[in-house]
């Protein structure tokens, strides 16, 4: 038997009109953590779907050899039977069931169809301990955080006695602390239980920290496998991913900052579910024309809530305070009014709140500003095509045509469609909430360029981001938020990551 637990040889997978994988070879050694990196659309997820049987044998060409035997998986059940488990980016947990029930979902501890609850609970407790989950087995999934849900997923995989665990972007939705815990857990499982892991990730620094080997995919092809026993540099990996060296991760710009365009004064927002609770506590901010202002802070600092409450009260109850645009006070009672007053909010959650996936690119772009292509009552669909083509070209939205459904685009291109939509609504104030989340390095650069163009066109750009390097790389000034209040304001040129973090920590300690 070879040292490889898994060998995927010459895998080719085609979708109508697209070759997602061409002759990909991917080998994983027993007992290692192997990272799979690449831009969005490079074929990482497709490769893992082939491996786990989601794309059934016969729908691709090439061989999969697992533990020395050739495998022909017809479904995910087949791959689970030989010990391969996959944890998808979107967690597959049932929110109204308990942790224990979820761990054994589809794999119930039962005899002749009757569930053995004693056994279920006993094993669940063991698994909960093993993954370091600090919750009772009877807690409902909907009541625990995403980080903990991720641990439940891992426990679920362990319950299936898996030998090869595939994790697709496991830390994408987690904050730094939860991410670290998860990575530590993976290391422990790897060392103490000999679990082999394949991890797909965009977070290159994490990959370097944890992986033994790193395989880079680009455009459906294997580019290289890097040995990470001596840590590889970020630049080296990025070079493999994009095919060139990205010397500047952030485009240069010289800001032309004008007068104050938008102000938030004494802004107070209450929790929509619990009106006693104050979510945003007396926030005061101002934004100048042509300026990119960052909102830094930890998850749950209230940045998204602030943005959405400003955007036509899309979040929160009992909202008080003033909004001043171009020196005049404005009242925004709903999203329609917000848009009409030139405010745009690009949501952090483009999948569930940003796009209509079953509609095509052009329709998504015009959705928030149909009035602009309507004469009286008729929507001019020809004009719409021209507008769609215009944005597709301008922002380099990779697609077959403007008639392509946005659900079939990669994350970066979807984000460009969302940005196009809001730019087409001709706002004066743009609030961007995590505009580069889940987007690969190359596309990020393009998004930054768009953001800078907007600022140069004299708009107030507000950018919420949890990635400090990004905030430091692109903004002109930044506010630091913590627990619903502003705890600091700095010029970006004078700020460092340490400054920001220590401001947050000091503010928390002060309470």
């Amino acid at each position: 038997m070879s040292e490889y637990i898994l060998q995927m040889e010459n895998i080719t997978k085609e979708f109508p009109g697209v070759t997602a994988l061409s002759n990909v070879t991917f080998k994983v050694k027993k007992g290692e953590i192997h990272a799979l990196v690449g831009e969005n659309g490079a074929g990482k997820s497709t490769l893992m779907n082939v491996l786990s049987g989601i794309h059934a044998y016969g729908s691709y060409s090439g061989d999969i050899i697992f533990k020395g035997t050739e495998c022909r998986f017809k479904s995910i059940r087949d791959s689970e039977a030989v010990g391969i488990a996959i944890i998808h980016q979107e967690l597959a947990l049932s929110p109204y069931m308990t942790i224990a029930e979820n761990i054994f979902l589809g794999n119930e501890r039962a005899k002749k169809g009757i569930i053995n609850w004693d056994e279920t609970i006993k094993e669940a407790k063991e698994l909960i301990k093993k993954v370091g989950l600090n919750e009772k087995y009877s807690a409902l999934i909907k009541n625990i955080g995403v980080g903990k849900q991720q641990l439940v997923e891992i426990a679920k995989a362990l319950a299936k006695n898996c030998e090869l665990l595939i994790l697709d972007e496991p830390t994408a939705a987690l904050n730094d602390e939860d991410s670290n815990n998860l990575l530590e857990l993976l290391k422990t499982l790897n060392k103490e239980h000999g679990m082999t892991c394949i991890m797909i990730s965009h977070k290159i620094h994490e990959v370097i920290k944890i992986a033994n080997n790193i395989t880079v995919l680009r455009d459906g092809k294997t580019i290289e496998t890097l040995d990470n026993s001596v840590p590889v540099s970020e630049g080296r990996i990025i070079k493999g991913m994009v095919g060139r060296e990205l010397t500047d991760r952030f485009p240069k710009h010289t800001p032309k900052i004008g007068e104050i365009g938008f102000e938030i004064k004494d802004w107070v927002v209450h929790d929509p579910l619990n009106e006693e609770r104050v979510i945003i506590k007396n926030v005061n901010m101002h934004f100048r024309k042509g300026e990119i202002v960052g909102l830094a802070g930890l998850m749950g600092a209230g940045r998204t809530e602030l943005a959405m409450s400003v955007f036509g009260k899309a979040y929160g109850k009992k909202i008080s305070g003033k909004l001043i645009k171009d020196g005049k006070e404005i009242t925004l009672n709903n999203v329609e009014q917000a848009i009409a007053n030139g405010i745009a909010y690009v949501t952090e959650d483009r999948k569930t709140a940003g796009l209509v996936h079953i509609q095509d690119i052009k329709r998504n772009i015009t959705l928030a500003n149909l009035k602009a292509i309507t004469n009286g009552i008729v929507v001019n669909e020809d004009e719409e095509i021209i507008i769609g083509k215009d944005y597709r070209e301008k922002f380099n939205i990779k697609s077959t045509s403007v008639f392509q459904k946005v659900g079939n685009l990669s994350g970066g291109n979807q984000q460009k469609v969302v940005l196009s939509k809001w730019i087409f609504s001709t706002p004066d104030v743009l609030i961007l909430d995590e505009p580069t989340r889940g987007i690969d390095v190359g596309a990020k650069y393009e998004i930054y360029k768009i953001i800078i163009q907007l600022a140069e066109a004299g708009k107030c750009v507000i950018m919420i981001s949890s990635e400090l390097p990004e905030i430091l790389g692109i903004t002109d000034r930044l506010y630091i938020m913590d627990e619903g209040r502003v705890v600091g304001e700095m010029k970006t040129s004078e700020a460092t990551q340490e400054d920001i973090m220590s401001t947050i920590i000091r503010s928390s300690a002060g309470r």
Binding site: N334, A368, I377, D382
Partner: protein, 407 residues
């Protein structure tokens, strides 16, 4: 070639439906020995199925908002027909006034439901289930179990045709009556119908060509001249064959004018106006629609109010065809309408579907009903057949979607 492929890919479901309709018509045409396509039967098909078509148009909007349905339409039809009986026969109002008031009653019933759905957030399924019981009850109270006869304008709408402008002038020159072996071979054609057909088809061709030209002039994307000409010629032929067919019977049914008008208005709303776009968008992703400034509550209210309005129109049409207001009218109408939409390609999750699809779906149901009745198939088997067709149509849809999905 590639463009053609792309076009077909985008519209495959629509053309598939028309293809299915043609196959079903041919099938029943053959096994009924041609009776299905006799002119008398064709004009009856239009009148008989008008109510399904009208309801299916409204139902399509409900489904588009997110796979919601309206279960109460059959009962609203019953309520409206009872109102008609009450107003004309018992109270003695003029039929035209009674028709207006009855349709408004339908609209109010729809607004009532729209209120609960949009502003109190009671799920549509439950609201309309309640409405189904409530409106049926009101019908029974009004009619007290009796059937009231209707007259005048009601019957004209339900069964009438546009008067012949030149009776017994144009001979049936193609001798199709002989070809089809008709029982009563028509010797003359209905001039009104022929005239309307010719004018309409010519206007159609001109509009199509003119639109293309003006689009070109403004630099918009247009289909190739060849495809436009082919399409125009085919429609020219279809319209004229159809009008010739009806001209062999009693000419242009008033119902057909009503249907054509409703089809045109609602297709326009669905495809060319902002509210139409908003309905599609909210069906595709409600949250994204709300964050794009769409007032989804208002849209829900409008959609269900409109459903009530159309159910009111369907109520008048049904009452007129039956020439009476009766307690049991409208039973299972909601199922016919919902079935038509799904046969016609609506997605059960919302956001996908066309008015055209609803119409074709309704005709598929209608042709099957009619064909099975002509061959004298037991009604129980008819019901089984209809059920299976709805099931298989959606199953086919799911299958073809899973085949074409990326990723």
């Amino acid at each position: 070639m590639n463009k053609m492929k792309e076009f077909l890919n985008r519209n495959i479901r629509q053309y598939g439906m028309i293809f299915a309709l043609i196959v079903i018509m041919l099938f029943f045409g053959i096994i009924t020995g041609g009776k299905l396509i006799w002119p008398r039967n064709v004009s009856m098909l239009v009148r008989q199925n008008a109510y399904v078509l009208i309801l299916a148009i409204g139902m399509m909007f409900c489904i588009l908002t997110g796979g919601n349905v309206d279960l109460s339409v059959g009962s609203i039809v019953a309520l409206v027909s009872a109102m008609s009986g009450l107003l004309t026969t018992t109270i003695g109002l003029a039929p035209w006034l009674s028709i207006i008031i009855s349709i408004i009653t339908g609209l109010l019933a729809g607004m009532w439901q729209g209120f609960w759905i949009a502003f109190v957030k009671v799920p549509p399924f439950i609201t309309t289930l309640a409405g189904m019981l409530v409106f049926r009850g009101i019908n029974n109270i009004i009619l007290n179990g009796q059937t009231l006869p209707l007259s005048g304008l009601y019957i004209t709408i339900g069964t009438g045709s546009v008067p012949d402008i030149a009776p017994n002038r144009i001979p049936e020159f193609l001798r199709i009556g002989d070809l089809l072996n008709l029982q009563n071979k028509p010797e003359y054609l209905n001039a009104t119908m022929l005239f309307v057909g010719i004018v309409l088809s010519i206007v159609y061709v001109f509009v199509v060509l003119f639109t293309r030209k003006s689009k070109l002039a403004r630099g918009y994307e247009v289909a190739s001249l060849k495809s436009v000409v082919v399409k125009a010629i085919s429609f020219f032929i279809i319209i004229n064959v159809f009008s010739y067919w009806l001209a062999m019977d009693d000419g242009l049914p008033i119902m057909l004018i009503l249907l054509a008008a409703l089809y045109a208005i609602y297709t326009f709303i669905a495809t060319k106006t902002i509210p139409g776009r908003h309905i599609y968008a909210m069906g595709g992703n409600t949250k994204a629609a709300e964050l794009s400034g769409i007032n989804t509550r208002k849209m829900m209210f409008l959609v269900y109010s409109n459903m009530g309005l159309l159910a009111g129109v369907a109520g008048i049409v049904t009452a007129g065809r039956l020439m009476a207001a009766s307690p049991n009218v409208g039973a299972n109408f909601e199922m016919d309408a919902i079935g038509s939409c799904f046969i016609g390609g609506a997605s059960a999750y919302g956001g996908v579907g066309t008015i055209w699809g609803a119409i074709v779906g309704a005709f598929i149901m209608g042709v099957m009903n009619n064909g099975m009745s002509i061959i004298g198939l037991n009604v129980f088997y008819q019901s089984i057949t209809k059920g299976m067709v709805v099931l298989l149509a959606v199953a086919f849809d799911m299958y073809s979607k899973s085949k074409s999905r990326l990723g």
